[in-house]
Amino acid sequence: MNCLMKSETKKVSNWKLFLTFMKLGLFSFGGGPAMLMLIKEEIVTKNGWMSEEELTEMVGLSESTPGPIAVNLATYLGYRKHGFLGALCATLGVMVPTFLIMFIVSMFFRNLMQYEPVQYAFIGVKCAVVFLILRVAISLAKHVKSSSFAVILFLIVAILMIVFHYLNIDFSAIYFILIGLFLGLLVYSLIIPLTQKHQEEVKK
């Protein structure tokens, strides 16, 4: 994490932070990899606020904290540049354009859906959305292979979610996340270190 300290020197105003992150919010569509490319260009190449290694580290870190990666990054970078106010400006920068555009869309969308062509188009849009989510789910699931613990947990939760859905059993996804948190700690912080200790003692 030492490298996180290096590029502190350059002074930037809160306004500049706000504008830069507004640009990121405004020109990133569909999230994910496309957005990361843009972030890299703005933050690393153009402004030099971070090195590429720092950014990679940051993205990794964002996966261990809740919420959208863009917000995590804005808060972190804003704080480093200008403390609390900087964090606020950068985060609001990401939020404002997204918010305004979606707000306008939400005002008109229900009225638009009265028209037949729009309804027909959205029959196809639904199919595309389902395809996109499934594609993301499959590519994420490929990462689960790392340990048998992860694979078993993945399968049990996926099956339970589907069974609960069709049996109309009310069980929040939040509980699954909390159970995962608990099991991760139980297995990797408690059971595995204990069995390793035990094996070492047996060897002695």
């Binding site: 261990s64 985060t91 993301v136 947990l153 912080s189």
Partner: protein, 203 residues
């Protein structure tokens, strides 16, 4: 009070979402259906809109739901603005606070052993939630299964046809032409196919 409810529900969503935008879909779906805010059909449309509008999907969804619920209140159009603002702020607040705490106190937050261990449990669960939600949505759009009363399956032939076409075109773009298929492109393709198939009565 709808505004307080919006705030609390989206705060919860922001707090329990890991791994970016798609990780939020299972929880948002659960929340909007449970509260009767929008139907599943409109929820899927909303994801489509989020894909073609800029910014993180989480913010798009919070703004949209907040706007609809707020404008249904006694405050009318202003209520819509207020609702969407409250939901949006609530959904980013946990990320903001957690990241701020990290920036101030724990420089090596992500490196902490126990946090890494907890994530080894959270990650497979989060991915399982996305996968099961993807399969449930797939079934609901293409072949809805009705489990209230006697179990029955119906097939939406038009949707199945469009879905297969999209998958086919996606494979051609990525495997034959070795190009990336951007989400916006896929959504526009879906809209186009929806119009063509329905107007020509292909199926």
């Amino acid at each position: 009070m709808i505004f307080l409810r919006l705030f609390l529900e989206f705060l919860k969503i922001g707090l329990f979402t890991f791994g970016g935008g798609y990780g939020m879909i299972p929880l948002v779906r659960e929340t909007v259906l449970k509260n009767g805010w929008i139907s599943e059909s409109e929820f899927i449309n909303m994801i489509g809109l989020s894909e073609v509008t800029p910014g993180p999907i989480a913010i798009n969804m919070a703004t949209y739901v907040g706007s609809l619920q707020g404008s249904a209140s006694s405050l009318g159009a202003f209520g819509g603005f207020l609702g969407s603002l409250i939901a949006t702020l609530a959904v980013i607040l946990p990320a903001f606070i957690v990241m701020l705490i990290f920036s101030i106190f724990l420089k090596k937050f992500g490196q902490q052993k126990h946090i890494k261990n907890a994530l080894k449990g959270i990650n497979p669960v989060a991915i399982a939630l996305i996968m099961s939600t993807a399969l449930i949505l797939l079934s609901d759009v293409l072949f809805p299964i009705n489990t209230t009363g006697s179990v029955s399956i119906s097939f939406n032939r038009t949707s199945i046809f469009i879905f297969l076409l999209i998958a086919f075109i996606y494979l051609i773009i990525t495997k034959v032409f070795k190009k990336k298929a951007h989400p916006i492109l896929m959504i526009c393709l879906g809209a186009l196919l929806g119009l063509v198939v329905n107007y020509i009565n292909l199926i």
